[in-house]
Structures are given as C-alpha cells and as structure tokens.
C-alpha cells in the first residue's frame, strides 16, 4: 500500500511538473480568447525601423532577451534554426534585446549568426506586452496578429517548433 501511494504521488507530481514546465499557453484558443499583440516600432541593429504590424499575415515569434542572460543565449540557436527552416512558410522571428546598449548585441548577433531582426527594447514596449519582469520571455503571434502563446523562462526548442508548425499549418482562410 505504501509503495502504491508513493507511485501514485510520483505520477501526479510528474504530471504537475510537466504542465508547469511547459510554461506556455498552448496555441489554438479561439480568437476571442487571444488578445491582439500591441503594435510597436523599433530600430533594428542595421538602423532600419521595424513595426510589428509589418509582419501581419506571418507567424511571428517575438523574443525578449539579453546578451548576458544565460537562459536567453541558449534559446538563440533554436530561433536561428526555426527562422531558417520555416521562414519560407511564413515564420518571422524578431528579437527584442533588453541590453543597455547595442554594442554587445551587435557582437553577439555576428557570433551567433543570427538571421532575424533584432532591436533594442525599452520599458514602454515591455509594459505593452504585460510587463517583462524576467528573462527570457517569448510570444508566439498568429497570422491574424493575435497572441497565441507566451513562454516565460527558458523553453525547449521542441516546444517552439511544435507550436510554430501548428500555426503555420493553419489554413490562411481562417485568418
């Protein structure tokens, strides 16, 4: 009996940990439950102005990060791969660095062969997304411009890919 209780507790604990560890609201909720992503403009490292609304019609993976943030750094290669693999299908990764200035970000961008736009963010932008009070935080935004999922803390590449593929696979007519 004692062992069965322990086994049952381990199963429940494992299930609970799995749900918490996902740290994402899964995509696929109805439009009424998904708020529009706030539009913003920012200047990327190349000096170009980008606006989130420029990417309507694409699936956007918006990543708040910083060069000195270890969990953030470990996610970047996965984002580079996703952009390479799914860019032609309509994925656009965007990075918002919360570094104090652009210099370390430029160096990091080159070293990690980043292949998506990166701009410096500020408190106003962070607050428009509900507050960025820890890093990394990423948002998956559907083709209709609505937020599909939020990932707080380091998230596995497989989770991002699964959710990106799910959105890319939706019929364009729905959006």
């Amino acid at each position: 009996m004692r062992f069965r209780t322990k086994a049952a507790a381990a199963l429940v604990l494992a299930a609970a940990f799995y749900l918490v560890a996902r740290r994402a609201s899964a995509p696929g909720r109805p439009a009424s439950a998904r708020r529009p992503a706030p539009d913003f403009t920012a200047v990327d490292l190349a000096g170009r102005t980008l606006a989130l609304s420029d990417y309507k019609g694409k699936v956007v993976l918006l990543d708040f990060w910083a060069t000195w943030c270890e969990p953030c750094r470990t996610e970047v290669p996965a984002f580079v791969e996703l952009q390479k693999k799914y860019g032609a299908q309509g994925l656009q990764v965007l990075g918002i660095s919360l570094d104090e200035d652009a210099r370390p970000v430029r160096g990091f961008y080159a070293r990690f062969h980043m292949n998506y736009p990166v701009a410096l963010g500020d408190a106003k932008l962070a607050e428009s997304f509900g507050g960025i009070l820890g890093l990394p935080v990423a948002f998956l935004i559907g083709r209709d411009g609505r937020i599909e999922a939020k990932y707080a803390g380091r998230t596995g590449a497989a989770v991002f890919e699964r959710d990106v593929r799910a959105l890319l696979g939706r019929r364009a007519a729905r959006h």
Binding site: A10, L11, Y18, L98, P104, L133, G134, L135
Partner: protein
C-alpha cells in the same frame, strides 16, 4: 505488475526531476554550495516595511528595463553586474560606505542559479571588505517571486 509500477514510478520521478528547470534538488544544492549569504523575499519585505530596525542599502544589479517597470522601493540601479562597467559603478557607489554597511543585492532576471549578475556583484563587495552583504533569493524571476507575491514595488527610473 509490481515491477511495472516500480519502473513507471522511477521513470516518472526521473522525468519530473529533468523537466523542471531549476528543480528543487538543484535549488537546494545551489543554496548549500553557493557562497552568497541569502535573504528571502518575505524577510526583506518585512524588514523594509517595519518602522524599526536598520534598513539596508538595496541595489539592483540586473537590467534597466526591469528596474523601470518594477523595483524594490528605495533600491538603486547599478546595472547587470556581469558587465565590467556595472561592477565599476557598484564599486564607485559603495566606496565611501563603512565596511559594516548592510547591503542587499538583487537581480531577478532569471532563476537565481542561472543569474550571471548577483554573484559577481557579491564577490566584488566582499573583495572590497564589505562583511554585511546579502543577496535576495529569487527562485524564478522578479515578477514571480516579488511582484506577484504582493511585496512593495516602485516604478520608474
């Protein structure tokens, strides 16, 4: 049947330990082996809200966008102490303080065991001879472990 249950339990327990970043075992180990002297959020909040007692100098050694959105009232921003320029600012800030000054450092960027900022800041102050330095224990991030817990928060530069 009993063997299958045992195997399943072992796999689930192992999977649980692996799945959760900053799992309890890691946090406990970090707490035991970490050099910094820690202060829990509840403890610091109580200290700050109490009308009695000496208040520490609270210094945020994380990122400015976080500080602007939410910081511990009265805390000062120094910057990410993983960077030399922030460490220099920290040394400059404390140089005139008595070595027994009560100082609390915090960051809150990410789980404490992965934070690149608090340990260099702590080490820097200890190297300068400060003996009464504590680091705020942030298990996940400032949002989850301070703001969401209802502890006092200020905004702005």
């Amino acid at each position: 049947m009993r063997i299958h249950l045992r195997i399943l339990a072992a796999v689930m327990t192992l999977a649980a330990a692996v799945l959760v970043p900053g799992a309890r075992a890691q946090r406990a180990d970090a707490g035991k082996s970490a050099e910094p002297s820690l202060i829990q959020p509840s403890e610091l909040a109580k200290l700050l809200l109490s009308p009695k007692g000496d208040k520490p100098l609270v210094i945020q050694v994380g990122f400015h966008v976080l500080y602007e959105q939410a910081h511990i009232p009265g805390s000062e921003y120094i910057g990410p102490a993983s960077e030399d320029k922030a460490l220099s600012r920290l040394r400059e800030r404390v140089k005139a303080l008595p070595r027994g000054a009560f100082i609390v450092l915090y960051c809150g960027c990410c789980p404490w065991i992965r934070c690149p900022n608090v340990k260099p800041a702590y080490a820097g102050l200890r190297a300068l001879g400060f003996k009464n330095v504590k680091v705020l224990w942030i298990a996940d991030n400032f949002g989850a472990d301070w703001v969401d817990k209802g502890y006092p928060v200020a905004k702005g530069r």
